[in-house]
Amino acid sequence: MKPWRIVVISAVLPVAEPVIASLQGMGHDVVAWLTARRPQDRDKPPPVWGEITDKSAPQGVNLIMARDKADLAGLLRGLEPDVALCWGFGWKIPQEALDVPRHGIVNQHPAPLPRFRGPIPMSWAMRKGDGEIFVTWHRMDAELDTGPILAQTTVPILDEDTTIWEIGPKMLEASIGLLPRVLERLEAGDPGDPQAAEGASWAGYFDEDYATIDWSKPRREIHNQVRAWHLSFDGGPVKGPIAELDGKRVKVTRTSLSDPGDGSQAVDAGDGKIWILDSEPA
């Protein structure tokens, strides 16, 4: 296909970086990386990948930090993009901005849509014991995570995948692998496959009802609970999962179903041992 002018919309440097590199590798012109300004984070420490600056951002693209949703259409319009790809962006994009790119805006949502729409789909896949995480590219419409699907695949989740640092790279690889198919369908004017009306669910932030660890439960359920909370990145109002450990209340952040052999403490769960790799005072 002819090189396209593509805008990448993401708040996450380790996502933007490989997506931009891959699109550039496919011969496209990534005209901009667009991210959001976050005045509410002004006094917080930088994200683990550091602040986004001219020096840290991928080269060869215009770098844009939007102050508000209402500015998105104006910021995109002059760039005359063929498509915008969105992945890991906190704002709901207004219709006016969705209408700017010639082929619309396509979003990556890590879920078997229409299942797990909403902010923490990976956490819900863990909570439900799915054993896999979906990656889905879909056209964006005025509602969240409801647009027609252009490409979808799954990433198996192993017992030893405990953090985003193990799961993220697999998802990136799988999602980027779908991009040629996504762009092909867009170029063909393919509207995509409408999401099924049945089976839709909302992956909202966890509540108190899931915030406590019950050691009498099966160990895999507990392991999934710990990973599910980790993958929610403390985005919701409730913190968890909290457990009683040696008479102290702790937030458990990393567990293992096999002995890591490093002296980590083992706890007896309902059907066997679970090892506590990391925890924080609650």
Binding site: R42, D54, Q59, L63, M65, R67, R77, G78
Partner: protein, 293 residues
């Protein structure tokens, strides 16, 4: 007095955080909407240390504006177009802005050049004012055209050059308010569609980067004031040109002189006799033999 426009959509183009900060703050107070601060991506400085004010990021940049780092000149027009600016204000920007981009803002693009234009056009006007022994630094807002620093003048003033100012950290905070104070006049003239005053051809000068002919201090041939100006002139180039300076012989060693005074600072700094008067050497660096010839 003509009417002061209100609620304009303004794009600020600047590469220096303290300038952008002051300008954006002032425009906000004047009731305008600074829709974006636009600067350049600088792949060439990727491995250089951050500037003294730190890297520009979401956290360090003024709030309430879109931030844009442009990757190339040809991207300026498309980046500006969607923002539908009424005016673009440029101050301390290294690229020549293409005509296509200059035509985007409704009332035009205006640049602040720190010189009494048409005198001292070019990249280091403050340095040339010092080198020429000017009594003042100029501050000029002018319409931007296809050439560097040649467009019609909308407002102009000056500040006296003080003997005791030796670095940009003293001069910057004096020039910035002088530039901001002219904004109401600039905006009135823009709103009225005033083309501005064409620059005269008389007194026009272009000051490029300094060469070898100005890179050496001769204690016995130059006056203390000439040397003081030479040292400051080089300081205000920020090491941008291909030649470094000014070099001098001090206690039998070749040094680069970086800060001087015409009066005794009383801190034991060494004094040197010149062709006319003493000069005190506050700071100097060893001459690096591997520095470019």
């Amino acid at each position: 007095m003509a009417e002061q426009p209100q609620g304009w959509r303004i794009v600020v183009i600047a590469n220096v955080l303290p300038i952008a900060e002051a300008l954006i703050g002032q425009l906000g107070e004047m009731g305008h909407d600074v829709v974006a601060w636009l600067m350049t991506r600088r792949p060439e400085s990727r491995d250089l240390p951050p500037p003294p004010w730190g890297e520009t990021s979401d956290k360090t940049a003024p709030q309430g504006v879109n931030l844009i780092w442009a990757r190339g000149k040809e991207d300026l027009a498309p980046l500006l177009r969607g923002l539908e600016p009424d005016v673009v204000l440029c101050w301390g920007f290294s690229w020549r802005i293409p005509q296509e981009a200059l035509e985007v803002p409704r009332y035009g693009a205006v640049n602040q050049h720190p010189a009494l234009l048409p005198r001292h056009r070019g990249p280091i006007p403050l340095s040339w004012a010092l080198r020429e022994g000017d009594p003042v630094f100029g501050v000029t807002w002018h319409r931007m055209d296809a050439d560097f620093d040649t467009g019609a003048i909308l407002a102009q003033s000056s500040i006296p050059i003080l003997d005791e100012e030796t670095t940009m950290f003293e001069t910057g905070p004096r020039i910035v308010p002088a530039g901001l104070a002219l904004l109401p006049q600039v905006f009135e003239r823009l709103a009225a569609g005033d083309p501005g005053d064409p620059q005269g051809t008389e007194g026009a000068s272009w000051g490029g980067m300094f060469g070898e002919d100005y890179a050496t201090i001769d204690w016995s041939a130059q006056t203390a004031r000439e040397i003081h100006n030479q040292v400051r002139a080089w300081t205000y180039t920020f090491g941008m040109g291909p030649v470094q300076g000014p070099f001098a012989e001090l206690d039998g060693k070749r040094v680069k002189v970086t800060r001087t005074l015409l009066t005794d600072p009383g801190d034991g700094s060494p004094a040197v006799d010149t062709a006319e008067g003493k000069i005190w050497i506050l700071e100097s660096e060893p001459f690096e033999t591997d520095s470019p010839a």
